[in-house]
């Protein structure tokens, strides 16, 4: 039976109240659902970018999540209980994101919330997670978790953050591509993280950032920015996100043709983009950071094979049902791994219901080594319970004959940086 009211009140008062609010109370879904019984599913509130700038990521985050849930449920669920995903579109908007968390916690009685990539949605939602005392497992890459900006209820155990990714790239770029770098990046926080963290890491390696070219977020044409790139640039570092990424790389190709500096980009610039698209031939020979290599590599692990097959991704990183539907392979593994971490955390803490949320967080905080496995197909990781952030291998691939071929794998230690927060000191 549905729970109608949250406090014990007399029938007279109840009737009076119902009369006061009339049809509003009668609207479906106005009341919260019943507390989960111990045999009922574990509810995971999945905050997903179905609309807005992050929709391409959201579609694949959804598919990966559904695949992971199927695998977990097929193997007996968590503590004998199946997982149930309650998905809610956050519109890639922080206000909607926070509302989604409220719905998960107070309407659906979800055990935990999970998902979402874009940093502003996470930062806008995390305060509500803390207030609602709802464990919030994000798959965002942002440095906001480890920076100490958020709270004890927000964790990022399934994907590395941009600070660690960027600093791990610096030695490879300097040793293999060149010492004079120009950076092209979006002129908002994500781009600024690249600008600041890569600059610091690269200059500490003895390299030089000779120009920084920020591109306003409202821009849809990029040609006018390319003349700002100095002629003595040895390496062009580029990172771009959003619906205009294809235009960006095409115009970059038109500007340089087969000449120009060596290119090093974050895969975000071409994430979910078919690399056989006419106009992208100039990318051949350029290098990309990838969180997880899109193309199945010669040394592909059995774990990646298993994961790729479960999600429905072919060896080229596209959907098995549509070769033109290219996945966000570099990021979406985070959903898979995070769900497996939630499973492990719940099993280790003996999680039985919402009252055990704090125990779940403590169990995850106590995790350290996460070896390469079916649960972690992207690679081994080391989780830092104090900063709520995981650290792992980063991959650099080279575009060769239209495919991205692995050129370098960083060590996990390459991605470390000093702790900036200790969330375990915060009370629940």
């Amino acid at each position: 039976m549905k729970k109608i009211i949250k406090a014990n009140i007399s029938r007279r008062k109840l009737m009076k109240g119902i009369a006061s609010v009339g049809s509003i109370v009668a609207m479906p879904g106005f009341v919260s659902y019943s507390q989960a019984a111990s045999s009922s599913p574990i509810k995971i509130g999945f905050q997903v970018h179905r609309t807005g700038i992050g929709a391409a990521y959201g579609r694949w985050y959804d598919r990966t999540t559904q695949a992971a849930v199927k695998i977990i449920n097929d193997s007996g669920g968590i503590n004998g209980r199946p997982l149930e995903i309650i998905a809610e579109d956050d519109g890639t908007d922080p206000k909607r994101g926070a509302e989604a968390l409220e719905k998960f916690a107070n309407q659906h009685d979800c055990d935990v919330a999970f998902g979402t990539l874009f940093s502003h949605v996470v930062i806008g939602s995390a305060p509500r997670a803390g207030e609602l005392k709802l464990p919030y497992f994000v798959v965002s890459e942002g440095h906001h978790v480890a920076s100490g900006m958020l709270n004890r209820y927000t964790l990022q155990p399934g994907i590395t953050d941009v600070k660690s990714q960027v600093q791990a790239m610096a030695p490879f770029v300097k040793d293999n591509l060149g010492k004079k770098v120009t950076m092209v990046y979006p002129d908002f926080a994500f781009g600024h993280d690249h600008r600041d963290y890569f600059s610091a890491a690269f200059e500490s390696q003895g390299g030089q950032i000779i120009a920084k070219v920020p591109i306003p977020p409202t821009e849809s044409s990029f040609s006018k920015y390319f003349p700002k790139i100095p002629r003595d640039t040895e390496v062009l570092y580029h990172v771009m996100v959003g619906p205009a990424v294809l235009t960006f790389v095409k115009e970059l190709g038109e500007f340089y043709g087969s000449k120009g500096p060596k290119l090093f980009g974050f895969i975000d610039s071409v994430e979910a983009v078919d690399l056989s698209t006419p106009g992208l031939e100039f990318l051949d020979g350029s290098y990309f950071w990838e969180g997880n290599p899109r193309y199945a590599q010669a040394n592909q692990t059995d774990h990646d094979k298993f994961y790729r097959n479960a999600v429905g991704v072919d060896s080229n990183g596209a959907s098995v049902s549509d070769p033109k539907d290219v996945s966000t392979y570099a990021h979406m593994f985070g959903c898979w791994e995070t769900l497996h971490i939630i499973k492990k955390g719940m099993e280790e803490s003996g999680y039985s219901g919402i009252k055990d949320r704090a125990k779940l967080i403590e169990a995850v905080e106590s995790m350290t080594s996460m070896p390469l496995s079916k649960a972690h197909p992207q690679g081994a990781k080391i989780f830092n319970g104090k900063t709520h952030q995981t650290f792992g291998h980063q991959y650099i691939t080279k575009m060769t004959n239209g495919k991205l071929v692995l050129a370098h794998t960083t060590s996990i230690e390459d991605t470390f940086y000093p702790d900036e927060v200790d969330y375990t000191k915060q009370s629940f």
Binding site: M27, D93, A105, H120, E131, F190
Partner: protein, 313 residues
């Protein structure tokens, strides 16, 4: 007692009783807290659009001015909540005076475009000064900073009462304006500004004052939103947040005091319930808005006023 006063006091009493009697589930308590603050923003918008007849597409500028003034003063300068809200009101009033002074050199469509452009400048400035504002990511106002006279504003019950107080304050200002001679001049300007001019009113001054009041209330709502919900971000300065109050006012009833509240509730729950039905919920939202526009052209409350209750302000 005046009928209009009874109506508004009753509406506020219902909102109070919903909480006092524990009728709200936690979910709807949180939703209504959010809706009330956003409706306060809608009240600010309504004074300019509904009463004065000036259609602005740049009100996100005023909302975000208050949001950032309070948020940044807490985040960087350790202001307490009271100080930050006073600062936000002052800055919103100053910015709305400036924008009003410049934008009122135009009328009609040009006014819409000019206000939109100013709002875009504000949005891009927030991104440009990312080292201070944290750009698009925004920043969190920590729970420890959201204390006002020993009251923890992150507490759901205190937040709800705070939101109700904020909304009440705004609608009583609106009600006072609507019943005052000043408000009647605004309506006269809306209906026929040339006639108001001919009658001897300084139309430009009245319009400017209307923008200042409207912008200041919007900024006040923005400041309260950031403090109550703990997040300040550039998305609140985007054009969407200029369109939202326009929608709330149009759906609820332009030129009605409670119209923004009715519109905000309608829009919020329309999206909320539609998203439970289908992933393509925006289709339902779009069709519903079309139906409302076709069959209640004056908005929900506006239509009621037109057909039955002429006295509703």
């Amino acid at each position: 007692m005046r009928k209009d006063l009874i109506l508004h006091l009753s509406a506020l009493s219902v909102l109070l009783l919903l909480e006092l009697l524990g009728i709200f589930s936690d979910y709807h308590q949180g939703n209504f807290a959010r809706i009330l603050v956003l409706a306060a923003y809608g009240v600010g918008y309504n004074i300019l659009f509904g009463y004065t007849g000036l259609l602005s597409l740049g009100h996100a500028l005023f909302f975000s001015a208050g949001l950032y003034a309070s948020g940044l003063s807490v985040y960087h300068l350790d202001y307490d909540i009271g100080q930050s809200i006073i600062l936000a009101i002052g800055i919103s009033a100053f910015i709305s005076s400036l924008i009003g002074f410049l934008a009122l050199r135009t009328i009609g469509v040009s006014f819409m475009i000019v206000t939109l452009m100013f709002s875009q400048i504000a949005y891009l400035s927030i991104l440009y000064f990312g080292s201070i504002t944290r750009g698009d990511e925004g920043f969190v106002i920590q729970q420890s900073s959201r204390i006002f006279f020993s009251l923890d504003l992150s507490n759901p019950t205190i937040r709800y009462y705070s939101a109700l107080l904020i909304f009440s304050l705004c609608i009583f200002i609106n009600l006072w304006i609507a019943k005052s001679s000043f408000g009647r001049v605004l309506v006269a300007i809306r209906e026929n500004s040339d006639r108001a001019l001919m009658l001897g009113y300084n139309v430009q001054s009245y319009k400017l004052l209307s923008i200042i009041i409207s912008g200041t209330i919007s900024g006040f709502a923005g400041a309260c939103y950031g403090i109550l919900f703990g997040y300040v971000g550039a998305s609140f300065a985007t054009v969407s947040y200029s369109i939202f109050p326009l929608l709330w006012v149009l759906i609820g009833g332009a030129g009605t005091v409670l119209g923004p509240l009715v519109g905000a509730i309608f829009m919020f729950y329309l999206i909320d319930y539609a998203s439970d039905i289908t992933d393509a919920y925006m289709i339902i939202v779009g069709v519903s808005l079309l139906i409302v526009t076709l069959f209640a052209r004056r908005g929900l409350l506006g239509e009621l006023r037109y057909r039955f209750f002429k006295w509703i302000p």
